[in-house]
């Protein structure tokens, strides 16, 4: 039997924009969430501040949902963007979402910023949300649960559409020079949804995304958030192999070392991308397979 995983998210303040940078006048809010040039400036400042190897974009989790129709409150310096209005209000509207237009809105800005950073020689991470997490920004979760019981086909159609858009977004990111996809479906976990709904609403779509994306990654990798990969493993959809290293390295150095020695590795999980810079005495890298 596959090993069961229990991963507790503890990224805490590493998920936030550092206070010291928030106070600097050169960064204005919500502009850092709106314009490619501002995103470039802030992502580089965070990288320098934390002495990291990678720049990471975007600074919120609402980009995909907004591109698919949800309304977003962009917030201010203290509190970042969040969904202000769902775009789907009834089960009948479930199949009715727009395709992502990469030439419009904030998703265009994020991709433009990735392009600028890559052209400047920066190594960029693109954070991407999984289909269920996006879906629950488009529709009230309760409606989605009810639809999953009574109108399974409609829910399947919606999540398939989102899955295609997520894969498309990741491909766009890769074409613009992204080195690492940081992938997470943090709202659609096994302990929240339970085994049946997890399989129906989250797990299988995440697995599809991973399968499709792993084929198009050039020299990059996809790093799955530990909460997300633990759910996938505990429901039997993926398996994992650990590579243990006998020298003190940061998590990202350890990953680079494992990948250098095993060029076919594309998917890493069971850990947090925010720990990239942390020194580990005996680093362990979990490679995901299915």
């Amino acid at each position: 039997m596959n090993q069961q995983f229990n991963f507790k998210c503890a990224s805490g303040e590493l998920e936030e924009i550092p206070q010291q940078l928030l106070q600097k006048e050169q960064f204005s809010f919500p502009e850092v969430h709106l314009h490619a040039e501002e995103m470039v400036k802030l992502s580089k400042a965070i990288k320098d501040y934390r002495n990291e190897e990678y720049v990471k974009l975007p600074f919120c989790v609402t980009i995909e949902a907004e591109a698919l129709g949800a309304k977003v409150n962009l917030g201010d310096k203290n509190i970042g963007p969040r969904i202000s209005q769902y775009s789907i209000n009834s089960i009948d509207e479930l199949g009715d979402i727009p395709r992502i237009n990469y030439r419009k809105n904030r998703i265009k800005e994020v991709l433009d910023a990735i392009q600028i950073l890559s052209d400047e020689g920066e190594k960029a991470i693109l954070s991407v949300q999984g289909p269920y997490t996006i879906a629950q920004s488009l529709i009230e979760p309760k409606l989605l649960f009810k639809a999953a019981r009574k109108d399974k086909d409609k829910v399947d159609k919606l999540l398939n559409l989102i899955e295609d858009e997520v894969v498309g977004y990741i491909k766009e990111g890769i074409n613009r020079g992204v080195k690492i996809i940081s992938y997470s479906d943090s709202s659609g976990t096994l302990d929240i949804l339970g085994p049946n709904m997890y399989e129906e609403l989250s797990g299988k779509y995440n697995l599809n995304v991973l399968k499709k994306v792993s084929k198009v990654l050039k020299d990059g990798i996809i790093h799955i958030c530990g909460v997300t990969s633990a759910s996938l493993q505990n429901s039997g959809l993926i398996k994992s192999i650990s590579y243990e290293l006998n020298e003190e390295l940061t998590y990202s150095e350890a990953i680079n070392k494992v990948i250098d020695e095993n060029k076919n590795i594309k998917v890493i999980g069971h850990n947090c991308i925010n720990r990239f810079n942390m020194k580990m005495k005996k680093p362990k890298v979990w490679v995901i397979e299915w």
Partner: protein, 220 residues
Amino acid sequence: MDNIKEPLINDLSEAVVEMDEERTEELANQCIDKGVDVLTAINEGLAKGMEQAGKLYDEGEYYIPELLMCSDAMYKGIDILKPHLPKDSETKFKAVIGVVQGDTHDIGKNLVKIMMETAGFEMYDLGRDVPAVEFVSKAKEVGACIIALSTLMSTTMCGMEDVIKILEEEKLRDKIKVMIGGGPISQKFADKIGADAYTTDATKAAKVAVEIAKGLSEGK
């Protein structure tokens, strides 16, 4: 309860557990038609069904989606029965609940609200993305003894401390207790900000809320 009415109450409870909104509505209407005591139908039928759903959740049989669907069935029944309640029903403990500013994830908050209602609280739900000051002003306005705060995001946890600070500034800290919960929250964080209680799930939250409210009313 007589022999005809008892099965009706049991069916009502079962319809809630089965997440069947239409059946719950139908049975609630039958209760009215057959003159079943409305308070009994709510407490022994609907609330008991929700309690049973909570038990199934504790046992790992039900998960959050099932609990939310059970609660929708319960509310359908309450909507039908409530207008028939006698006006002088007993005074309940009051609590204000919401998701702190910056966060819109409200599943956990909704569950705690449901379980606290089932435990007898009158709940004032401020919804999602709520500024700290609004929790305090609502609690003052309605005379609530508990403010329950939830967040799923680590970036918005600080909003919980803001509520406690406002209560301290207004010298309300001994009258209004603060309960917190949500994915990134821990007992350590609760201790750090001085919250009165942290619980890991909705059923425990309801139990602790009852203890807190009783403690306050007894002057402890």
